[in-house]
Every structure is written in C-alpha cells, then in structure tokens.
C-alpha cells in the first residue's frame, strides 16, 4: 500500500516533478499535433499523387502492326460487364508542342533553363463516359471560383459543362476553317496567357510507313474552350483535353467534320474505376488480364496497372517520410524522459534517508523500486493524459486556431496558397495517439527505471547513519 501512497506524496511534495509532467505533456501534445498535421499533409499529397489516376490503368500501345481491334468498344464492353467495375472509359494520349502566334511562344521554345513547361500531353477523352472512371467534370468545375465557391473568373471556365467540347461562345465559327475545342490545364492557360476563345496550334509527329523517316509531322489549330484544375501541378502544366475523335482525326490528318477512317488510331489506354478498390484491385486486375487476353483484346505489349503501381516511387517516399518523421519526433519523448530521469535521480539522492527508513520498517528493495517507478508512472500518466487531450484538440482545431492567431498577430503563419490546400490538413489517427501515449509511458518508465534501481540498491545503513 505504501508504494502508491508514498509515490503520490513524494510526487506532490516536490515542485520539480511538475517539470517532468510538463515535459511529457509538451512532448505528447506536440507529437500528436505534428504527426497529425504530417499525416494530413501526406494524405493530401497521396490524394493529389493519385490525382486524376483511375483505379486500374490498361495501357494498349497503338502499334500499327498490332492485330488488336482499333476501336475501344469491345474492351469497354467486356469491362463494364464485370460486376466489380463501376465505370470505364477510353483515352487516346499523344505528345505535342503547343505554340501561339505571339512572342511568348518563341520565348518558351528557346528557354532552355525553364523547368516549368515540357511538351503537352494531349489527351483524347469521350466526354459522355469520361466521368465514369475519372474526375473529369469536377476538375472543370473548380476553375475560376473563390473561397466561397462563387464564380469570379468566368473566362477561365468551360461555358457548358454538359457539352465541354462545344465551341466556346467567344468563337466565331464563320471565320476561317472550323476548329475543334480543347480544354487546357490551368497552368497551361496562365503560362501561355490564354483565355477562353484563344487559338492555339498543336504540332506533333505520327508514324507514317510511307515517309522515309517513318514519321510525318502534323499540325492543327484549335480553340480553347476553357481550362481545368486537377490540383496536381504536373498535370495542370502539361495536359490538354480534347475530344477523342477529334484527336484521332488530327493524328490521321482528317478534317474536323469528316468521318474517321477505320485504320486510324482510336485509343491508347482504358481507365477503370472499381466499386471497391481496396477489396478487388488485385483480383480484378488478374481477371481482366486473362479475359482480355483470351478475347484477343490485349497482347504482350499491353499492361494493366493499379494507380499505386504508377506512383510506386512517390508513395514509397511518402511512407518513408512519415516513418522518418515519427522517429525524429520521438526524440522529443526521449528528452522528456531524460528530464524525468534527472528529476528522479535528484529525488533518490534527496530521499536516501527515507529509503533507509522504509527499509528498516520492512520495505523490500523491490518495493522501493516500484515506489520510484510509480513516481515516473504518475508523471507519464498525468502528462500523457493532458498531452493527448490537448494535442488531439489542437490537431482537430488547427485550422481555425491558425486563422485566429494569424488574425491576432497580423502575420500569416501558414500560407495555404503555397500548398494548394484550402485548410491546414490534419488527420488524427487514434492508433497514432495510442502509440504516442504508450511510447511516452515506455520512455518514462525506462528512464525512471535507472534511478529506481539505484534507490532499490541503496545501502540502508549508510543512509541511516547520519542526519
């Protein structure tokens, strides 16, 4: 009985113990807060790392000698028939160079130091089915709005979301030859100084067996129907959406209004959205591979990948960063534990006589050990409890807290623009909180064990000999 009673008394009688409690409190609170924000950041990054990627991506390189059907319909049909599939859509991707009739284009072309812009990934989509598998329309709709969601820049937006590739209202179709619409990434828009209704020229090369180089160049003028924002820098800087049929016409050199020849390139990848990615991804991938192969719709040159495989390196780095961060931040706990070690060591020296008295009155060395361990235990209990509550509360309320602080001091602490976040991301995982609290206990007890062990092995006679 004396262990609990005395440890509590000893704890309360020495103000210095508050330092230990406060240290644990700070460490646990800070760890929870920082790890929550870190987790929030990482999850946000992970989400934007996924970006516009669908669950499964089937890549079908459109080689001219392949015996696969040119049209995506049979592939889509097979996939949509599977009950695990939420939706599927076909893409045709092609690398291009974007130019305009102004000096800026030239400046961009000659700027060898620029890390900003590379080629344009012209992406042909079917507007009717694209949303089955990707976040196409939402990425159009977020453009040109302010914080409250009010539209402030209508000239950036696609005029008609139901028919995004319709000619923009600014476009006068009677002037010159007809032009197909494109929707460019938000950064492409600003970088090239485009507006809705602007004309751009896209240039590329396509395989051509008749040519002596095997390739022939293509170039065509398009009208900008608006822009999109995926939130992913690279995509907003490189991607340009176009109707898939129009891209096929561009590549095969057929005019905008004419019918598409059978031998033209129709699609290069199929995107699949699953009903339950976590559950089905692996099984579905294997099944689709087998089925498509048996139906002669894919061959060895094709691949089926999950979005995570596409981003393997990045996701690995993110996870790595989280673990590393956790380890580095755990050092705070070690520091707090060390404070307790120092305070308890002082206490054992100070209480030598009391330890001797307790031994004389019948306490065992083990009892004395437990007594001092318990002091560490109380430190950890109070500190970790309040720290967990305070840390969790701060983590949950960090966004309004930061806003209030910024307002009060007139300094912006967190620049939301820089990170493309609307609010400070923070995710409190109960498991992490539990791990931190347990870590605090373990750390404290390990550090408390050293002075406690010293107390238990004290010679009672020496402690009692003198006043």
């Amino acid at each position: 009985m004396y262990r609990v009673f005395l440890s509590w008394r000893f704890l309360r009688s020495r103000r210095t113990n508050l330092i230990g409690v406060f240290g644990i409190f700070l460490a646990v609170g800070a760890l929870i807060l920082i790890l929550s924000i870190m987790t929030g950041f990482l999850e946000e990054t992970r989400r934007s790392a996924r970006g516009s990627l669908s669950d499964l991506i089937i890549t079908l390189p459109p080689y001219s000698d392949s015996r696969r059907p040119r049209d995506p319909a049979p592939v889509l049909e097979l996939l949509r028939a599977d009950e695990r599939v939420e939706g599927a859509s076909a893409h045709l991707g092609w690398m291009c160079i974007l130019t305009r009739q102004d000096e800026r284009s030239l400046r961009i072309l000659v700027d060898s130091q620029s890390s900003e812009i590379a080629g344009i990934k012209l992406t042909g989509v079917d507007p009717a089915t694209e949303d089955d598998a990707t976040e196409f329309r939402p990425s159009l709709d977020t453009v040109g709005r302010d914080e409250n969601g009010d539209i402030v820049a209508p000239r950036l937006r696609v005029a008609n979301l139901a028919d995004p590739f319709a000619a923009p209202p600014e476009y006068d179709a009677s002037v010159g030859r007809p032009r197909a619409s494109v929707i460019v990434g938000e950064k492409v828009m600003t970088y090239h100084g485009l507006r809705r209704g602007s004309f751009i020229t896209l240039m590329t090369a396509v395989p051509d067996p008749a040519s002596d180089t095997g390739w022939s160049a293509k170039k065509r003028e398009f009208v900008v129907a608006g822009c999109f924002r995926s939130g992913e820098n690279e995509i907003d800087l490189e991607r340009v959406y176009i109707d898939r049929g129009q891209l096929a016409r561009f590549l095969s050199g057929v005019s905008e209004d004419d019918a598409l020849p059978q031998d033209s390139i129709h699609f290069s990848e199929v995107l699949v959205k699953l009903k339950d990615y976590e559950r089905d991804a692996e099984a579905a991938r294997a099944a689709f591979g087998a089925q498509l192969f048996r139906a002669g719709l894919i061959d060895e040159s094709c691949s089926i990948r999950t979005w995570e495989e596409f981003r393997e390196a990045l996701l690995g780095a993110i996870e790595n960063e989280r673990v590393l961060m956790g380890i580095m931040l755990s050092l705070i706990l070690v520091v707090a534990g060390f404070t307790i070690f120092a305070i308890l060591s002082m206490m054992v020296t100070e209480k030598r006589r009391d330890i001797g008295v307790l031994t004389a009155l019948g306490a065992t060395p083990r009892g004395v050990l437990v007594l001092f361990l318990l002091i560490g235990f109380w430190d950890a209990l109070i500190g970790a409890l309040f720290g967990a509550v305070a840390g969790t509360w701060m983590a949950l309320e960090i966004d309004p807290l930061e806003r209030k602080l910024s307002e009060t001091f007139g300094v912006q602490i967190f620049n939301r623009e820089v990170y493309l976040f609307d609010s400070i991301p923070s995710v409190v995982t109960p498991l992490a909180v539990a791990a931190i609290v347990i870590g605090a206990f373990v750390c404290t007890l390990v550090f408390a064990a050293i002075p406690a062990w010293r107390a238990a092995n004290l010679d009672p006679v020496e402690a009692l000999r003198n006043e």
């Binding site: 009985m1 004396y2 609990v4 009673f5 005395l6 008394r9 000893f10 009688s13 006589r353 009391d354 001797g356 008295v357 307790l358 031994t359 004389a360 009155l361 019948g362 306490a363 065992t364 060395p365 083990r366 009892g367 009672p460 006679v461 009692l464 000999r465 003198n466 006043e467």
Partner: protein, 240 residues
C-alpha cells in the same frame, strides 16, 4: 542474567569486517548475545566500538561477515530478502537517534507507516479505521493528541522522537531496538521520552536493546553489556 522469559533474539559469533581499499577492517570480533522477552539490555561503550554496527546486524539491516542471528526461532540471515523484510516489519521496532520520520507525512501517517508497508492496499483500506484509532491512541498516550496532523518539521525534537516511538510500537513487535534514542535531546526531554519508552516496554513485556552513553540510564536496565573495540568486555546485571 535474567532466567525468565523465552529467548527473543539469539546472536552467535557475529563478526563484521569492512573492506576499505585492499585492507580489511574487523569491527566486531565474534559477539554472542541473547535477549529474552521482557528484558532490557543496555549496550555501552566508547565511540567507534561498533555498537551501531552490531545493532544494525541484529536489526537485519546489515549483513554480518560471519555468525548467525536467530529471530523468532529462525536464522534470519539465511532467509530470503522478502522474508527478512517481513521479519523486520513485524518483529522489530526501530528508534533512531535522529528520529528519521518521513517529512512528507503527518504524525498519524508516520505512525501508521509500518502497517502500510505490511498490508496491501485492499487490506489497509479495510483496517483503516482501526489503524487510525490506534495511531491516535498511541500519540495521545504520548501526549501528542494536539499534534496528530502536524508534519515532522512542525514538531520539536522530543515530539518527533515520541512519534518515532509510536511508529516503532505500532505493529506490536516483540523486539525494540533503540540507538541512542535520547542522544539528540536535552536532559528533561530525554527523561520524558525514556519514561515513555520504558513504560511501553514494561506494559507490553517487550525486549529492549538500547545503545546509550548515559550511565544513569544503564542503571535502569536489567542488564548492561560493555563493548570495546569490537568485543564484549563485561556484563553487569542492573536494577531492571
């Protein structure tokens, strides 16, 4: 030698050596000692003779280099640490020269400390009322009824020693060991504490082992042993 009463403590051939560097220093050279129930034994001798060392060995606080200490009919130094601690708790009451109260506890709590050590949390809670009553009783008997809630720092030396005495008696141990209990007190206060000590010893028929430099005090004991340079040089039967 008093022939009445059972043997409470029986020490044989106690040798104590201290190692200091490479040389060994023998402080006690084979001490034999018997103590019977109800006996009052005074241990006298010059400073440095080894009185405190002997007391610590008999009180199971310090390991003898050789020799045996039988308490309660058991060879105490061959018991496990656990059992020896229990024996110290139940069988021996200590009174020190410097009181050695715990400064964080008030008088009543200090007195109850042996029971706290003896019992688990649950047991102590069950007996709490009885313990409290007993501690108050003891302290009141020692004239400290108005000091129950005071911390040691708020008490005088004599008062502290009376609290320490109450603590030593709390579990009714058959053996009391006191190392110069009045060594730190003025004469009158010392007398008062001794009267209480002897009265308690008589009422409970305890064995008392007392180290003192005070000849007059020794006269009030049933037996006096003289320890000089680690050996017993003479035994005198007192008035007792």
């Amino acid at each position: 030698m008093s022939e009445s009463g059972d043997i409470v403590l029986c020490a044989r051939a106690i040798v104590k050596r201290f190692e200091s560097g490479d040389s060994e220093l023998e402080i006690l050279h084979g001490i034999d000692l018997d103590l019977r129930a109800g006996e009052r034994l005074a241990l006298m001798g010059p400073s440095g003779a080894g009185k405190s060392t002997l007391l610590h060995i008999l009180g199971l606080l310090e390991h003898p280099t050789y020799g045996t200490v039988d308490l309660d009919g058991r060879d105490a130094w061959s018991l496990s640490t656990q059992e020896r601690a229990r024996l110290r708790n139940r069988y021996i009451g200590f009174v020190f020269q410097f009181y050695h109260l715990l400064s964080e506890l008030d008088a009543v709590e200090n007195v109850m400390l042996p029971a706290m050590i003896a019992q688990s949390r649950g047991e102590f809670r069950l007996d709490r009322r009885a313990h409290l009553a007993k501690a108050r009783d003891l302290l009141s008997n020692f004239g400290l009824a108005h000091r129950l809630k005071h911390r040691p720092a708020q008490l005088s030396g004599g008062e502290r020693q009376r609290v320490a005495l109450a603590r030593a008696l709390f579990l009714d141990p058959p053996l009391l060991i006191a190392d110069e209990p009045t060594g730190n007190l003025d004469r009158d206060t010392g007398e008062l504490v001794l009267d209480l000590l002897f009265r308690a010893q008589q009422e409970r028929n305890l064995s008392l082992l007392l180290v003192t430099h005070d000849e007059r005090l020794a006269e009030r004991c049933s037996r006096v042993l003289r320890l000089e340079a680690g050996s017993i040089v003479g035994a005198v039967s007192g008035r007792g």
